[in-house]
């Protein structure tokens, strides 16, 4: 005996269940991302969490778009220095699974910390190194280091590849960053001076790269960061 209504209901329920399973899988994917990122496991992030498609891309602040997996990898394999610590806590999740169940879009707020032990590390930067300007904190005896707090936004496009959800596009925006002992208003102008050299350092890697230079493939798509005369913007469409 046929029960078309029941079959339709079952089909809808099955679709909803699959969508919920997809949501859970994407949530776990991003949780793994945050834990790997915060535990110095950058080398695992691209092989385990990112798309296998070489067109995958990452954009960080005003970095421009780094496309190709080897370029994305340089972002994660760049700081295996004792005393260096990055942490990332994702919150305020917005997530949408496509009807087809093959793509998803998500956005998160991220509360983060970044530490470069500087003079306190086993490999302190040389006295003349331009990037010492980034070492914004000082110990009582004058040793320079960097300990910053950040508020970020993660926007992610996911793809399901061979049954696994993977990151295909990642755009990280920064609302602000500032030394832990300062604040984002006081630090806004100093940040403007140091932004560029800091940004470029994010994509340096001790590993060999297959090209002469590691430059972005394209310009910044959009960028906003706190300044004393700036108004916040909603830059990511949140349609349910």
């Amino acid at each position: 005996m046929d029960h078309p209504d029941l079959e339709q209901r079952l089909s809808r329920l099955e679709h909803r269940l699959l969508t919920l399973e997809d949501r859970a899988a994407v949530e776990n994917l991003m949780a793994r991302y945050a834990f790997y990122f915060s535990a110095g496991q950058g080398r695992r992030i691209v092989p385990e969490l990112w798309s296998r498609d070489d067109e995958a891309s990452l954009e960080y602040g005003a970095s421009g778009v780094y496309r190709n997996l080897w370029k994305v990898k340089t972002f994660y394999v760049n700081a295996e220095i004792p005393g260096y610590l990055q942490t990332c806590t994702l919150a305020s999740q917005w997530l949408k699974i496509s009807e087809s169940g093959t793509e998803a879009r998500g956005a998160w707020m991220a509360v983060c910390t970044e530490t470069d032990a500087g003079d306190l590390s086993a490999q302190p930067p040389t006295e003349g190194d331009q990037r010492r300007i980034l070492l914004s904190s000082r110990t009582e005896n004058g040793q320079a280091y960097r300990a910053e707090v950040l508020l970020q936004k993660y926007e992610v496009l996911f793809r399901k590849e061979e049954g696994q959800w993977r990151i295909f596009r990642l755009h990280v925006s920064e609302f602000f960053r500032c030394p832990a002992g300062s604040d984002w208003v006081r630090y806004a102008k100093t940040r403007q001076v140091t932004d560029g050299m800091w940004l470029e350092s994010l994509f340096e890697t001790p590993d060999p790269i297959p090209s002469f230079e590691n430059l972005p493939n394209g310009p910044t798509t959009y960028h906003w960061q706190y300044d004393t005369d700036a108004l916040p913007e909603l830059q990511f469409p949140l349609e349910d």
Binding site: A62, D129, R191, Q192, V193, G196, M197, F212, P219, T220
Partner: protein
């Protein structure tokens, strides 16, 4: 007669312990370079001396908190100490080339990303005023809108090398009106420009060919191709050329190529065409830029990959190694002036 010293500026990428822009004195007799001072500035990928100010392109992704490029102007004293006197954004990221027009009224900048070129008026001190013009490539240029170089053609026209269009494009300097263009055949990767009077020399990064044009911008559409000549004797798989510069008398033109780390010296014929005179292997890798002293006696070359600069002298239309080198992390840009000119300009300012 005692030869005057030179003041050289080396811009660096912000890597490998770089300290920004390095000011050097080159001994007028021996050409020996000596470090005078460093100035912390981020990613100064192109430099030019404008008579009263040193201009530095900000070849990064951010400028003063914006996703933008820009340019800085610096006053300089005889001790090589730089003081930033002005800075302006460029309305495009990775400002990769800058050029001052002959009368010193404008600084032009080319942005690798967004493919815009920009005109900053210069005030009486040579300081940068906000851009009066930002010129975008045409919509049909497609999404990759990169420019690689900009030069002034006299005071009235501007030439750019457009990667997006694979073309040399000439604009009117006053209003950014597009005047004419030449699309390079075979889609080479185009790189750099040198302009002298009405002659335009456009160099491809790969393959390493130089296109020699006579221009007559008043006659709309007129760019006459006179010659195409390679920077190498024998074809190479890659050239990776970088910079093309004249000696101040216009008699010689020098081109740099990274792949085999050479400088190629051309003599300029009466009709503006080039004759290749010398291909000089350099004592280090990846000549990203070089500068020629105003009197045409010496060349300072940035060896980006080996973290040093080297000095050659020019004698009888030949480049000769002086043996002088100086360690500088990731040198990427060079400019030179006479040390006394710097002193004069400083006195005028103060």
């Amino acid at each position: 007669m005692v030869k005057k010293d030179y003041l050289a500026f080396i811009g660096t990428n912000s890597v490998r312990g770089s300290q920004g822009i390095y000011s050097l004195r080159l001994d007028g007799e021996t050409l020996r370079p000596e470090l005078l001072a460093t100035h912390q500035v981020y990613n100064s990928g192109a430099l030019t001396w404008g008579g009263r100010r040193l201009y530095a392109a900000s070849e990064g992704m951010t400028f003063k908190g914006k996703a933008d490029g820009g340019a800085h102007a610096f006053a300089c004293d005889a001790a090589g100490i730089l003081t930033e006197t002005s800075a302006q954004r460029s309305f495009g990221q990775r400002t990769c080339a800058i050029a001052v027009d002959p009368r010193g009224k404008n600084l032009y900048g080319a942005n690798f990303y967004q493919g815009t070129w920009v005109a900053w008026p210069l005030d009486e001190n040579g300081d940068l005023l906000p851009a009066r013009l930002s010129v975008a490539p045409p919509e049909e240029a497609g999404p990759f809108r990169a420019l690689h170089c900009v030069e002034a053609i006299g005071d009235d026209y501007v030439a750019v090398i457009s990667l997006a269009e694979c073309a040399l494009v000439v604009y009117r300097a006053s209003n950014g009106e597009r005047v004419t263009s030449f699309v390079f055949p075979g889609h080479p990767f185009c790189r750099y420009l040198a302009v002298r009077d009405r002659m335009i020399y456009a160099m491809m990064q790969d393959p390493g060919d130089i296109y020699v044009f006579r221009s007559d911008p008043e006659k709309k559409g007129v760019l006459t191709l006179l010659q195409t000549i390679s920077v190498q004797e024998q074809p190479l798989a890659h050239y990776a050329t970088t910079t093309l510069r004249f000696t101040s008398d216009g008699a010689l033109l020098i081109a740099a190529a990274r792949e085999n780390s050479t400088l190629t010296l051309f003599s300029v014929q009466a009709d503006g065409t080039l004759a290749r005179k010398q291909i000089l292997p350099l004592p280090g890798q990846a000549p990203r830029d070089f500068a020629i002293t105003p009197d045409g006696r010496a060349v300072v070359t940035c060896l980006q990959k080996t973290d040093e600069i080297c000095v050659h002298r020019i004698e009888s239309e030949t480049l000769l190694d002086t043996g002088w080198k100086l360690s500088i992390p990731s040198p990427a840009a060079a400019a030179i002036t006479m040390l006394d000119e710097t002193l004069r300009s400083t006195r005028r300012d103060t």
